[in-house]
Symmetry: C2
């Protein structure tokens, strides 16, 4: 019940009083605070351990406060997912750049980056692929998600000798599916703990990224003229 407030009627300065500039609303940067708290919470307890009330609690506001910034729970999680897709796309595009002019290397680098991102950002990655947890019709989210997907498709096109405007051949589409599947599947197996037993017996905790991933990617799908 209302213990805290009625007991100590002092402390008028609710806001931090420092840097009175660049504080768009009269109660601080709640929006960003909620997002940060959400990312921390799903990292701690998983996507399903998330609770809107807990996030509000950590941000020091009432349970209903987030509604004004995000509408509802899905609105908040949509924004967190959007940020995740942004960073995910950045990682893939940077890996693509590392591949230089070698299409096969571009694909290799992206595959490694895909799984690495998933394992380094387990909570975000899990959320990103849980469509039931956020609003699927969110436009801004679709944009960054497509951007990440197109990075992969671009490398597939290059490795198949297709121009960006060419229509995908059946074979190229199959290669795209196979490549996406293998990295996505590996990420899910790793995040699901499916490889933990093996990792325990075959090297330390980071055996998954350092050992298993290269081992698996050695068998990754390759373009039609198999070398």
């Amino acid at each position: 019940m209302p213990a805290k407030k009625s007991v100590s009627p002092r402390k008028p300065p609710k806001r931090k009083a420092a840097t009175p500039v660049a504080r768009p609303y009269h109660h601080g940067d709640l929006r960003e605070k909620l997002i940060a708290a959400t990312e921390a919470l799903i990292l701690e307890r998983g996507v399903d351990g998330f609770s809107l009330r807990e996030v509000a609690r950590r941000a020091g506001v009432s349970p209903a406060a987030p509604a004004h910034h995000f509408g509802d729970t899905k609105g908040l999680l949509s924004d967190v997912a959007r940020l995740g897709f942004k960073d995910f796309g950045d990682a893939l595009l940077e890996a693509d750049r590392r591949g230089g002019n070698d299409p096969a290397k571009r694909l290799d680098e992206q595959g490694i980056a895909y799984v690495t991102f998933a394992l380094k950002n387990p909570a975000r990655f899990a959320l990103m692929f849980r469509h039931d947890k956020y609003d699927a019709t969110n436009e801004a989210l679709h944009v960054v998600a497509d951007r990440a997907f197109n990075a992969l498709e671009g490398a597939i096109r290059a490795v198949q000798g297709l121009a960006p405007t060419d229509e995908m051949t059946e074979d190229a589409y199959g290669l795209l599916l196979a490549t996406w599947s293998i990295v996505h599947g590996f990420a899910h197996l790793a995040l699901g703990g499916e490889l933990d037993d093996a990792a325990r017996t075959r090297g330390g905790k980071d055996a998954i990224l350092k050992s298993f991933l290269p081992l698996a990617l050695k068998h990754r799908p390759i373009p039609s003229p198999r070398k």
Copy 2:
């Protein structure tokens, strides 16, 4: 409080009165009823839409009744997952048998069976790989899960010319990881709706199984001496 009973003092036969034999408890086969209701519910609303109270409601018992048979929610879901792994293993082993003496065909058939099971039993499959939803220490569950996994490993061994007692080579383990990843990833992408857009433009709703899967599996990992 007891509205129902005091209002209508009739209907003494609470149990079905038919087949008075093989009814171990005095109120019927609640255990199986709860499991059936659970499978129906997660099929309707997804794994996260599950609710213990709703299941109890559908089985016509009080919210606390399931506790006596399964302990808690995780106990119930563990049993449902166990049954899922049982059928999953059956499907994989049957596919393995269809492969006959051709190790590559055994692998092919298992891959198709893996994804097919996932798409035909989306709710069960989703639950099976959501370790947070059930009790990981459940022994009976581990047994059937390992059985399914070993079906895949067996075919990998055969295709690599390894005896069941031989230690896995690094290359064989990489092939196992890559194969598992590609089918698991494809299943997750399909169940996550990630392929729905493409399926809509490239054929009907079952384009995923009929068209995409063969296309992707054409690029599946193959044993070292690439043909």
